[in-house]
């Protein structure tokens, strides 16, 4: 159940960016006494106050045997000596090595961040280019429309041509039929007329026409002779 009267996200709190780590830690004097202790005693006792306090405490512990000197004291002294020698000698090298490790981690993280930003930048560029490309859509559609119109036109003209050819073929056929018919009638009539005429020439007429031809020839030969 969500109480809608409760206001949400009222503060500006956000988890990122994380504030950077402080450069140096709290100051520590002689390796194990924090600096705040010296500052705490400075107004009352000056610079030597804490050291006096330390010496007094040490002598008090020793004299009252609150701190007992036995074999462990010698062992502790040797161990402490070795520790201090080691730290003084190898401290800076170890610190430099640790810093180098840290630097490498930071560098790789930074590189990743930069790469991601670069990738996003190029993505933005690509997106802008795509948007520009989309503007050319209208030309594409115009070209397509032109293509289709041309196809339709060609098809229409082809069909017109076909229609014309078919009609012409039919009409030619009719014309050829009529011409053939007329020719046949003509031939038939000529044959019939010739046949009848030849039948009608009787033998007597044949003799008469031959005699007439001979007379004509004689007359012609006389006139021809004269011309030559």
């Amino acid at each position: 159940v969500l109480h809608t009267t409760r206001p949400l996200h009222t503060t500006q709190q956000s988890l990122a960016p994380v504030p950077p780590l402080p450069e140096k830690g709290g100051e520590v004097r002689h390796g194990f006494i924090p600096e705040e202790f010296f500052q705490f005693l400075y107004p009352k006792t000056g610079v030597t106050g804490p050291y006096m306090l330390g010496t007094g405490l040490l002598l008090y512990f020793l004299s009252k045997e609150i701190y007992v000197i036995n074999h462990e004291t010698v062992a502790a002294a040797c161990i402490l000596g070795v520790f201090i020698y080691g730290i003084k000698r190898f401290g800076p090298d170890v610190a430099a090595y640790a810093d180098k490790l840290n630097e490498e981690k930071m560098a790789s993280a930074l590189a990743m961040k930069n790469e991601a930003m670069q990738a996003l930048q190029t993505a933005i560029e690509e997106e802008k280019k795509e948007q520009w490309r989309v503007e050319g859509r209208t030309y594409l559609f115009d070209a397509k429309r032109n293509n289709i119109a041309m196809l339709l036109e060609t098809n229409y003209r082809e069909r017109l041509m076909m229609v014309y050819n078919e009609v012409k073929k039919r009409l030619d056929y009719q014309v050829a039929m009529q011409a053939l018919k007329r020719q046949k009638e003509q031939d038939h009539m000529i044959q019939w007329v010739e046949k009848n005429v030849i039948q009608s020439i009787t033998p007597q007429q044949q003799k008469e026409s031959i005699a007439k031809c001979i007379l004509d020839l004689k007359a012609l030969s006389k006139s021809a002779q004269a011309a030559v």
Binding site: L21, P22, E23, K24, G25, G26, E27, V28, G31, F32, P34, I66, Y67, V68, N70, I87, G91, A95, D99, N102
Partner: protein
């Protein structure tokens, strides 16, 4: 007129010596309170001396010194 701060909310360094008893009595001694106090103390120490860019030997050596002193105190009767 400065606003009067309740004794419950003052920090330890601002408590006057006479009020120390009553201040101590007002603290939270339930298990969760003690756990919270330990957590806070640990966080303060950690963020001041260890969780930094260039930490020194002080952060670790103070813990070791405290451990030495505490173990000496616990084993004093055996000496």
């Amino acid at each position: 007129l400065p606003a009067a701060v309740l004794l419950k909310d003052t920090k330890l360094m601002d408590v006057k010596l006479g009020q120390l008893g009553s201040w101590l009595a007002m603290r939270d001694f339930t298990p969760s309170g003690i756990l919270g106090a330990v957590r806070r103390g640990y966080d303060r120490y950690y963020n001041k001396y260890i969780n930094v860019r260039k930490g020194g030997i002080g952060g670790v050596s103070m813990v070791l010194a405290g451990y030495i002193v505490l173990s000496y105190m616990w084993s004093y009767s055996h000496i």
